[in-house]
Symmetry: C2
Subunit: 418 residues, 2 copies
């Protein structure tokens, strides 16, 4: 994409009420726009990142048999009364609204209830099980505090997967598969997540699990083994810093961390009040056993920004960068621009995703500063000097110094995104 066409520009400052690093950087780099506390719009660069994360998650959900749907935001009060999750005293995150007739509606903060109703139409026998259903849909949560940028949104895109099983054993088996899929997702996004035992909460009597990424800004505290990575959330843990690991010889460390995903064994908590049952091979009627599995996409994106950034800007992993290469042309020489235009076109034709800073009347320093702030994995500079030295100057965002390579080498450096 030509930077002269892109409608966003970098900014010197984020809004004064924005205190989080992730939102400050993303706003200054032109990825998002703040609508109000905890509510952000995604601009072209930000939406590209979000879509890449979405595609990675979709691939991994499909790989474990997930079928994609899209449920509604508007929710029927009667349904949530059945599971005792309607009253504000029970669930304090509701946004509520009304039809003109006065009928109260809620904005979905999760989707166990409506999906369980949908599955009643399609599950009646053991032959219909197991089933795995997921969606990408906006969730609405009426958070009192929303000062962490994309880490805690009042409106945010979530991937939520729900599984339906004959038995607890079958559910736990799929629970482990989902765990593996989640590790793949976080790894592909460049994150090192720690599988952490956590409280059951409102969902289940037993434990749940969280995927935690160590970061000073994190709202969670975990105790994690420095050897085998066994971890417990502080909320349920009897461990303390310096303890021996209960599983190996390692030492327990205390860390601040961000929860980037969670998985819940739901048991029959929703199938019971809603009446989702199936007939066994012997004709016996049983309740369907469920699990649910969530990832908030903007939070994942914000975690990447918190973990991968420096004083100059964001440092995107290649897998979710909005473009792979930032091509910068320096000076005002018409011949240099012509060569840069050609390189941009050739890279595009190869299927490489390129942002091309083709702006005139902008100093080299400003172009470098913008490239560092936006944070694409590779920066390629084309200038009179680089051409004299035999080609283009290439530098990874993670490197301090660039090197000159010729144009053929550049063309063979990257493989197109599939």
């Amino acid at each position: 994409m030509l930077q002269t066409k892109l409608f966003t520009r970098t900014k010197k400052e984020a809004p004064s009420d924005e205190v989080s690093k992730n939102a400050k950087l993303l706003i200054k780099a032109g990825f998002i726009h703040k609508e109000m506390a905890g509510v952000y719009s995604f601009l072209p660069l930000g939406l590209r990142v979000l879509k890449k994360i979405e595609n990675i998650i979709r691939e991994e959900m499909n790989a474990i048999g997930g079928q994609e749907v899209s449920m509604s935001v508007l929710q029927d009060k009667n349904l949530w009364e059945k599971t005792d999750r309607w009253e504000d005293q029970k669930v304090d995150a509701w946004f509520k609204t009304k039809l003109k007739s006065g009928t109260e509606l809620g904005l979905g903060f999760t989707h166990e209830e409506p999906l369980t109703v949908i599955m009643k139409s399609f599950i009646s026998s053991y032959r219909d099980l197991p089933k795995y259903v997921y969606q990408f849909q906006n969730k609405f949560r009426n958070e009192t505090r929303a000062k962490s940028g994309l880490l805690r949104g009042r409106e945010f895109l979530m991937k939520d997967l729900y599984s339906f099983h004959e038995s607890e054993d079958d559910m736990l088996n799929y629970y482990d598969k989902t765990k593996d899929a989640y590790f793949k997702i976080f790894n592909r996004c460049g994150l090192d997540a720690i599988y952490t035992k956590a409280a059951g909460g409102a969902f289940t009597a037993s434990y749940t699990h969280e995927f935690q990424v160590v970061a000073p800004v994190g709202e969670d505290t975990i105790f994690v083994c420095d050897q085998c990575r066994y971890a417990e959330n502080k909320e349920i843990s009897n461990l303390k810093e310096g303890d021996s690991c209960p599983l190996c010889k390692g030492k327990i460390k205390k860390e601040k961390s961000i929860e980037v995903g969670n998985i819940f064994p739901l048991g029959t908590k929703y199938s019971e009040p809603i009446g989702l049952t199936y007939k066994t091979e012997g004709g016996e009627e049983r309740r369907v056993v469920m699990g649910s599995y969530g990832i908030g996409l903007p939070r994942l994106m914000a975690t990447v920004v918190e973990v991968f950034s420096d004083e100059r800007g964001i440092v995107w992993p290649e897998s979710i960068a909005p473009f792979s290469i930032h091509v910068l042309v320096l000076g005002e020489d018409g011949e240099v621009f012509k060569k840069a235009d050609k390189i941009y076109e050739d890279l595009q034709n190869k299927g490489i995703e390129v942002l091309y800073d083709d702006r005139h009347d902008i100093s080299a320093g400003e172009k470098f500063a913008d490239a560092d702030l936006i944070g694409l994995p590779y920066r390629v500079v084309i200038s009179e000097r680089s051409l004299k030295e035999g080609g283009v100057e290439i530098k990874k965002r993670t490197e301090e110094k660039g090197k000159i390579i010729n144009v053929d080498e550049l063309m063979n450096l990257l493989v197109p995104r599939t």
Copy 2:
């Protein structure tokens, strides 16, 4: 996809309160689930159709320079007061909600206001113009009557494009480009849309334009020339059935129709109160001239169902069908199943999108009825008889009778979706 894996099934009946043909057929065929009047969830088959429509629209929006964003659902009251569109007396379609602090918020029924604010950050000079920005986002409209299925939703996915210009002339020039893009979109979805002059309404003093598809269920009435297709919405027309066309020798006909898209010249209606201005080359400050351009995706899908269906079910155009081919295996013979499995795999490997009815213990009649209801463009039957006759029986959904072709012919019949 294997039909034994697909979690949906066809149903004998739609809910008794569902009166529209489009929703009845889509519910019976397992494409959507009714949450409440005017609110539907999209199941795997329905979501596939919606995504295909979305991709067609995205391609045509990108082709006319559109840059994709995603704005928030939650809307700030203060902003909408500036344009005098907050009060229920002014805009009767709002769903409203509240933060815990008591601050009122709205759920976006359109997005002119927030986008105009965003563009204030990025437009200051004539050099920043023109710009074209679009999104796919859920719109919320508190409709009193919502009995038309997907034709009139309280919550629905919309593509909304907004354009920003130096002058009325430049805007009208782009308005024509969008008109052409819209014709391409509707044509690619199999619809024959009529460009219709309509009332300016709340948006503009002058005329706007609608794209209307003739259908008995339509809530609109248009007068359209049987020769040159010049058309006016009854709301603003002085024409009547049988009149001579004002532009050619044709005769005017009166038709019921569905509005599948609309385009509005907005002028400075939003840039003025929000203060979106730019400096001309001469340094003069002027208001940015805007246009807006909408397509409701579920309504487009519903229009296709209303127009292309028969007493047996839906008849999807190839471009937006959830799969291209429905492969049916008949009988219980293991050898026949093996051959059918192989054909399914070979088609999949060629990149053809196939739904494979691999169910056992279902009669041929039931499989045929399901295939007709779901309405994929091609039905391929594999049975002992077809194999004896030299291959498979292929039939288009639009044809009454199938014919036997050999497997090689089948493999070369369809090209993969790109």
